[in-house]
């Protein structure tokens, strides 16, 4: 007795024909929207920790907001821990916020061209802010010198 072989639904069978593949969207977008949905949840949890920590350290400890000046930032970014904390916060918050605003644009802008241009403006702003912020964190100089002269207010070694 030989058993009849029935290929499983989504496999490529051996007869040379390709089994029909199940596609939910039928478009070329793949599962981008599902990944975006998942990203919102994962980044959201991390951002709660990063932002609550940021607010606690900057506003509630010691003198609070009065302590914030150039020296305060220089002191934090002298430590790679806070550089990467702020870098992670920048990237995750910007991508999380951009995806949120993208959703809102898709919901409320009905004209195709309006939707397209609003999103282009959004993505341009996001790119500028992420690149600027990243450069600032990594090229920060606590003791800036212009033409051999130290700028006032800097955090210079004696």
């Amino acid at each position: 007795m030989t058993a009849t072989q029935i290929p499983s639904p989504r496999s490529k069978d051996t007869s040379g024909k390709i089994a029909p593949e199940y596609r939910r969207t039928g478009s070329s977008r793949g599962n981008f929207e599902m990944l975006a949905w998942l990203f919102m949840r994962l980044s959201g949890v991390v951002l709660v920790v990063l932002i609550f920590g940021h607010l606690f350290v900057n506003l509630l400890v010691g003198e609070g907001i009065h302590a914030i000046d150039f020296g305060f930032v220089a002191g934090k970014w002298a430590d790679p821990f806070w550089q990467f904390w702020d870098l992670a916060m920048l990237w995750l918050a910007m991508l999380h916020g951009t995806n949120g605003v993208r959703t809102i644009i898709n919901d409320y802008a009905e004209k195709d061209s309006t939707r397209f241009w609003l999103k282009m403006v959004l993505y341009a702003a996001t790119a500028v802010i992420i690149i600027l912020g990243t450069l600032v964190i990594f090229t920060f100089n606590p003791c800036p010198v212009v033409d051999g002269v130290q700028l006032p207010g800097g955090f210079c070694p004696a």
Binding site: I65, H66, G97, V136, F140, P144, L151, G153
Partner: protein
Amino acid sequence: MPTKPAGTLYRGREGMWSWVGHRITGVVIFFFLLVHVLDTSLVRVSPEAYTAVIGAYKNPLMALGETGLVAAIVFHAFNGLRIIAVDFWKKGAKYQRQMLWAVLGLWIVTMVAFSIRHLSLALGGH
């Protein structure tokens, strides 16, 4: 796409209003974030430019603004965790209403504590 939908799917109550609150606080936080990265970037211009601009945050009106911003962030954070629970916890959808009241309760407790500490620091002395 119909421009005038017949009837509405919006059902009101806790589910819809928490969604509305989540959207509004999200947009507010996003625009603050853009400004906040720009003001922090001034550390790369000069120490004086940064300290001058950050000084604009240190007045009583801004102290209230900061408290409002933190209120938006804390609501968005707690309600975001509620959304995750609704999506991933088996009983999340069943208890979404109770979870919203928990979110609002925790939000009030957090904001009372934050406001006392921040406003006494920001408004007191210096």
